[in-house]
Structures are given as C-alpha cells and as structure tokens.
C-alpha cells in the first residue's frame, strides 16, 4: 500500500480513539480491507469516511463500504441467477412467502419471540436501531443513521434518522429507543450484563446515548437486526404486547391481519415509509409446520419465496433453475460437546480422549453429505473465519488422523471406549451423529447414537436450569449442567459475533455450558475479549481463545453451515439474514 500520509492524518483527526485504532490497524496492514470495512461499520465509521481511509491508504476501489447502498450486495439478492427472470419489475402485486410456523408460546411478541418464523413477521412492521449491511454485517440502514463510541467504548451515541413516523403519524424519538432498551434489559434479550435499566440518555429527540456497565466493542451488533429481540417499539408499548394486539411500527409494511391457527399474516404497503413506499401492494407470510410441505409448495410455485430449508430436503429447489437461492454468510453450527467433569472419572474428562474424537471426525464428509458443500470446515472453536478478529495463525486446522486418535486413546487407557451420543431430532443433528459414530468406529471407539424429540432433548440431556423437568440438581459451582450427557450434539444459530457462544456455552457456569467447562484461563481471555475495543486487543484475545479451545477441546466444532432460503426468479430485490429475516421493501415482481 502506498499511503497518502497527509490525507490519512486528516481523516484520523476526525475519528475518536477506537476508530483511530482501527484505521491504524488497516494502514499498517494488520487487518484486511474486508475486515476493516466490517469492523468500521460496527465502530460507527460512515461509508464516505471509510472511502477516504481507503483512498489515503492507496486503495482506490472504495465501493461496497459501509452498507449505505440499497442492499444489492451480498445479502443473497442475486438477480443474475435463475433463468427466466429477466422481465422488468412491475409495480404492485402480492407476494406469498412460506415461513416457519411461529412458536405459539410467544405469539407476535417482539420482545419475547424465539423462532425464525416470528422474527420474520415482526420485522416487517417494526425496525431495528441498526440495520442489515452488506456481507452479512450490520449497516446504517435501520432507524439510526449513524453511531459513535466514546473514547473507551463505554458509551455509544446513536443519531436517529429524520422523518421516521409511527403509524399514527407521530415521530419516532429517542424516548422510544430508551424505553425499548429498558424493556430489553428487563427480560435479558442479549443485553444482560451489558446495559442496566435507565442507562439511556436522551439529550434531544434524535440522539440516544447508551451508557454501558463496562466497555464493549460490539454494542451496535446487540441493538441490530442480528439480535432479533431488539426491534424498536413505541415508548408506551409494554413487555408482552403483541403486534396483532396493537398494530404499530415504523417499517415498510402495515399489519393487516393475522390468523393464529394457520400462522398466516397479511401486510400492506406503508405509504408513508421513510424509505419510500414499497413496490409491492401486499405481502402474505404463511406458516408451515411441516418443512417438507413448505418445500413442495415452493416447488409447485404456490409460494413466491421460502424461508429456510435444508440442503438435502430442499435439493429439488437447489436444482431448480428458476429458483434464486439466498444464502447469506452464517456462523450456524452444531456443537459436539464433551462433558469435561461429569461423570467423575468418565472418559471425556480426559482431554486426550476428547482430542481423539476430534481427530476422528471427517469434517469434509459432513460438509459434503449433510450440506452438499454449503458449509465450511471448522477448527473446534466457534469463531467464524469471516470475523475481523479471527486469527488465522492461531492454530493449524485439525485434519483427520486415525492413528493419532488411536495413540491418544491408548495413552489415556481408553481403547475400545464405549459411549452413548445424545442428540435431538432437529435438522442435521441426527445425521451428523451417525457420521460421528462411523468416524469414531475406525479408531476402535464404540459410540451409539440416541435421538430424542427436540422438545424433550434440551431438558433431558443438554443443559438447563437446575429445576427443569426431571433434571436432577446441578453439581454445584463450576458444574452448571450436572445432568448433561457425557457426549452430545446441540444446535447453535447464527450470531454476528461469538459473544453468546463464549459467554453462555463455554464460560464457567454459563447457562448453556453442557460441557461443564470450567477454565479460569478461558474466563480471563473472554473478559479480555469483551473489554477490548481495539482490533489488536480483540484479535489477541480471540487468537488465544481459538488455540485454547482447540487444544482443550471441551467441544468439537466440525463445521459452520450456510443458511438457505430462496425465491422464484420472477421476483427481485428480496434480502435476507441467516436469522430468517426477509426484507421486502425493495422487492418487485417482474412482468
């Protein structure tokens, strides 16, 4: 890079310390251009600003930065794919979309919803403070048009977009944002331990300052589309209010009707939407309890678009040349956990045995057979390689090595090990378990697979509160999941940063820590990572975490897989996230 020092100095002066740190990291070639752009959005750099940095660093192509564009980037909107969809977009029309049947327990409650189907419904009328950017990242396309951290990342200032109104015509104000954050704090909603109640200051109607309990370098992600429960609702909304009870929103679609028995919701275009009236007249979201039927209905074109399907079940759609497949980058994964403490003296309390299983895994076979290649091999830690702070050099990829596995088992005195692998009947898990069984048999291990209905699985074999169902009491401090199985497979959905995977699944006493992993070293590194707001600090901590998890192996992470959704080629402009949101404000049917 040939650096224009004068220009670089000029832009650095306009940035705060956290932003300067990022700019320097890029200028000194410590992070890639892509990482700079992704991280830049999170710490509040605008697209033109990042363009200036790129120019100063001698990188002429400054397009695609930020996410201020209309979203035709990498969110899966691929208008070139598909065969016959070459017509001109036409105004009007109804779009029929097949979605997951929403969890009845939450109803259309923006704060307490838990499933992809409900996320999709609620995010039509309500919007996030921080929207969807490009490349599976966040971007300033939500209700906040910009944000900046203070010098140490302990307070973040969000500037709201002008001219945003609720359905009754009253303006969106910072008071709405403050009330929303307070409600999130009340139920947790990803902000537990990050923000406390009453922490949002509102100096004026368009400015909200969120004061954190301690510095946090990823706060914008927690109030973005990637934390689905963070939808901004009116100040006088309350915890538990549902959309059908009180139709509201600032978004492109107005709630028209909802039938709970079929989980079918109809929306009509919001004429006063701040981003301009959508092209379509109506959108109908239809719930399907049976994913096979959802796929058949898409195949028969009774639907225009489909939310989430599996690679194998949906192969007919993947091979359909009139389908456009939407597959945003995703850190979805299945965790093969080992119980590192219980039963006492059990085989998996020995790290050599855990490593032996990890060496047996044929990761490429899983990627190929479970996902038909729509996945990437992972290296026994939950840090997705696309993250800015992923450390490539931390530890080499674990390759399959049966001899090494046998040797480790022999050292541990566990040749011919026998164990029962527990998993739920959720998509991919049972098939993966069968592959694990075969893979380990080659090293002489005798692993039997046991599959339980997913609704019972978590309470029986995984990790739950101390009093869940028939679960016995937990084993005390450091053993949050006293009754979790010695070895099992559990599902984790996409998160834009690994904070949840670290904090809940691996930290000592984490409420999802089915490995009962209790490592003072890990806890320390996690604290360092969360407190670090600079690129080097995050990368240093994460690199050590990668290596620690890889070596200690409290769980094996064989792959990250892509989310799959799609639409007919006669539709254009649909965007989606790996959490199931489908955005239709730019969608059109073609003639």
């Amino acid at each position: 890079m040939k650096i224009n020092w004068r220009l670089l100095d000029k832009v650095r002066r306009r940035a705060n310390p956290i932003q300067v740190d990022l700019i320097d990291a890029y200028a000194q070639n410590r992070i890639s251009r892509r990482s700079f752009l992704r991280r830049g959005v999170i710490v509040g750099l605008s697209a033109p600003f990042m363009g200036s940095v790129l120019a100063a660093c001698g990188d002429g192509e400054s397009e695609g930065s930020g996410g201020n564009d209309t979203g035709s980037g990498d969110n899966g909107t691929d208008t070139t794919a598909g065969g016959s969809g070459g017509g001109e977009p036409v105004a009007g029309g109804d779009l029929r979309v097949g979605i997951q049947f929403g969890d009845a327990n939450s109803g259309l409650d923006p704060l307490n919803m838990l499933d992809l189907g409900t996320y999709n419904v609620l995010s039509q009328s309500f919007e996030y403070l921080v929207g969807l950017g490009t490349d599976g990242n966040i971007g300033p396309r939500g209700l906040a048009e910009s944000w900046t951290p203070n010098d140490d990342g302990s307070a973040w200032t969000f500037t709201l977009r002008e001219g945003v109104t609720w359905q009754d015509g009253s303006p969106l104000t910072s008071a709405d944002v403050a009330a929303t954050i307070d409600r999130m704090v009340e139920v947790g909603a990803g902000l537990a331990g990050v923000v406390s109640e009453g922490a949002v200051e509102t100096p004026d109607d368009r400015t909200a300052v969120i004061n954190l309990d301690s510095p946090n370098g990823n706060l914008p992600v927690l109030v973005s589309i990637f934390n689905p429960q963070s939808l901004v609702t009116p100040a006088d909304y309350s915890n538990g209010t549902t959309l059908d009870e009180r139709p509201e929103g600032t978004g492109p679609w107005l709630f028209e009707s909802h039938d709970a028995t079929s989980f079918t919701t109809v929306f009509k275009a919001n004429e006063n939407y701040w981003g301009g009236r959508p092209n379509l007249d109506t959108v109908t979201l239809i719930g399907f309890e049976d994913s096979g039927t959802r796929i058949s209905a898409m195949q028969a074109r009774e639907l225009d678009a489909i939310q989430e399907f599996g690679a194998v079940d949906g192969s007919s759609l993947l091979n359909d040349e009139n389908m456009v497949i939407l597959s945003p980058p995703a850190a979805n994964h299945r965790q093969l956990w080992f119980n590192t403490q219980v039963p006492s003296g059990g085989p998996f309390t020995d790290p050599r045995v855990r490593q032996a299983v990890a060496y047996c895994l044929d990761r490429q076979q899983m990627v190929d057979t479970l996902f038909e290649g729509r996945a990437i091999v992972a290296n026994d830690h939950p840090v997705h390689p696309s993250l800015p702070f992923f450390d490539e050099g931390a530890t080499p990829q674990r390759e399959r090595d049966i001899e090494k596995a046998k040797q480790l088992l022999a050292e541990a005195g566990q040749e011919g090990l026998t164990a029962t692998l527990e998993t739920g009947d959720i998509i991919y898990s049972a098939d993966m378990a069968a592959i694990v069984e075969q893979n380990c048999a080659e090293a002489g291990m005798n692993i039997t697979v046991s599959v339980t209905a997913n609704s019972d699985f978590y309470g029986e074999y995984w990790c739950t509160g101390a009093s869940w169902g028939a679960q016995p009491e937990t084993g005390g401090p450091g053993v949050p999941c006293g009754a979790s199985a010695p070895i099992g497979i559990v599902d984790y959905g996409h998160r834009p940063t690994p904070d949840i995977y670290f904090g809940r699944a691996l930290q000592t006493d984490g409420d999802w820590n089915s490995s009962n992993y209790a490592s003072a070293e890990f806890d320390q590194l996690f604290t360092e990572y969360q407190g670090a707001v600079d690129v080097d600090g995050q990368k240093a901590a994460v690199g050590k975490i990668q290596q620690l998890l890889h070596d200690d192996c409290p769980a094996a992470y064989p792959f990250f897989f892509d989310y799959l959704g799609g639409h007919d080629a006669s539709v254009s402009g649909i965007e989606n996230t790996a959490l199931g949101h489908m955005l239709f404000q730019n969608a059109s049917k073609t003639a």
Partner: protein, 320 residues
Amino acid sequence: MGRFIVRRLLLSILTLAIILVLVTLIPNIAPGDPARKIAGGTASPERLQAVTESLGLDKSVGEQLVDVASDTAQFDFGMSFTRPTETVTGLVTTSLWNSTKLVVFSLFLVLPLSIAGGVYAAYKRDTWIDRLIVNVGVALASVPEFVVGVLFLALLAVPISFFKVVASPPPGAGIFTQLQYMLLPALTVVTVYFGYIARITRAGTITALSADYTRTAFMKGLSTGKVFRKHVLRNSLLPTVAVVGTQLGYLFGGMVGLELIYNYPGLGRLIFDAVDSADYPTLRGGVLSVAIIYMLATLGADLLIAWMNPRARLSISEGS
C-alpha cells in the same frame, strides 16, 4: 322418542363432564411443567412463579376443577395459555369451521362412491368386479393417510398446478376455488375410507339380499331398482350409518397427519399443538368440541337408524 333423545342428551352431558375432569387433570399428571415450557427454559424463578400463578397452576386440583367447571358451564373457555391474545373459543371456532368444510367435502365424495361400490359388489357377489372393489379398498385403506398424502403431493400437487399443496385457499376465494384447494386432502380421505365403508355396505347388502322380505319382493314382480330402493338399501345401510357416525369424531379431531402435510389449520392440528405446547385451555376446548361432535354424530346416526328401521324405532320408543 322424545324420552329417548332427552335420556341420550343427559348421558352425553355426564360423559362430557367426565371428559372435562380428565382433561383438567392432565397438567397435573403429565410430565414436565407447563409454566416452565411457556416461560422458557432460562426464565428466572420469579418469572416462573408469575407464569404459574397466571395459569392458575398454583391452585389445588379441586380448585382447578371447580374453576373449569363453572367457566365451562358459562361457555367461557378462557384465553389460550400460549397465545395470550387469542380466546380458546375463537381458536376452536376457526379450526372447527375449517375441519367441517374438509369433512363435509370428503364425505360428499366418499359416501356415494363407497356405498355404490359396496352395493354393486354385493349385487355382483363373487365375480371379479366384487373382488376388485374389495381388494382395492383393503389395499388403499391399509396405507396410512399421511403416506397417501405425501404421495399425492409428490405425484399430483407439485407437477400439476390444478392440484394444490396448501389446502387453505386464499382469503375471499369462491366455493369452487375452495373445493379445488381441498381436493387432495379430501381424495386422501376417500382412499382411506372407501374400502372400509364399501365392505361394511357390501356385508349389509348381502344380508339384506338374502333376507326373506327381499325374496318376497322379487317374487311379487318388483323391478331390481325398486327392490333395492324400497327394501334392500333401507336395511343394508344400517351398519354403514352406524360406522360413519362413529368415525366422524375421528375425522374432525384425528387427521393431524393430513392437516400437517397439506398445511391445513384444522381441529386435529389445533389439539395436537395444544398438547405439544402445554396449552391446556385450548386442549380442553378442542377435546370437548370433538367429544360433542362425536356424541351428536352417534345420536344422529341412532335417530337415522331408527327412522330407517322400524324395529329399532320400536325399541327406542319403548324406552328400553
């Protein structure tokens, strides 16, 4: 006759009361804690307690029974546990109406077809056509409805746009569009019930055909058609009516597989989901409505049989 109906209705109320007690007891005997399911696996103890109280599950079984009985007597089924904005009455009414449409349409197809088949098979007894009807019927009935449903989806609905994957029509659809959407699930019901009803009808018809009164009718020179209309059918259809009456309850509440496959929001799915999500008020409302349908259907079948068969009528009016 009047006494008969009153007595039957009183018996029905007793049966309904027993069902109500059983359904009310379920939360207390089923594994797992409904409040835990509804509040979520990671809810705090305070929230769990609040949910338990809001569901009335902190009360004793006796108190719960009294509450439910008095609410039910006032036709107040309360709100759904899991969909707090929906009344049970609303959910059950919507689903019941959907199921009614599908059941009526299915019966409209399967009854004439299977009765005609059964009567014809009896008339052509022991010929190839008889064997064909009986064996095809048995073969079809032995395949579970959800298997037939999936086959129809793959073979008819996906390739041919006239047949629909999703059985619920778009809002505001006319009667013929609605029937078009419901055609595949209705045809699935036909495949399941054709053999069953045809065989019952065939057996009844064979008995009636060999009866003395039929022989007399033929001997006094009545045409075949007239003998069937005046003498045979009235008697041969008695078992058929009884069987269809008892199957109605299942058709309304038991077609979960079919409703899932065709994404049709019927009563079966409502009840199934209510069990799954521990939504006990909805479960209560759903099960009670199926029980009521079952009772009305069997009562209707008995009255129909009485009307068709003078001997049955006699025993009913004697009130024995």
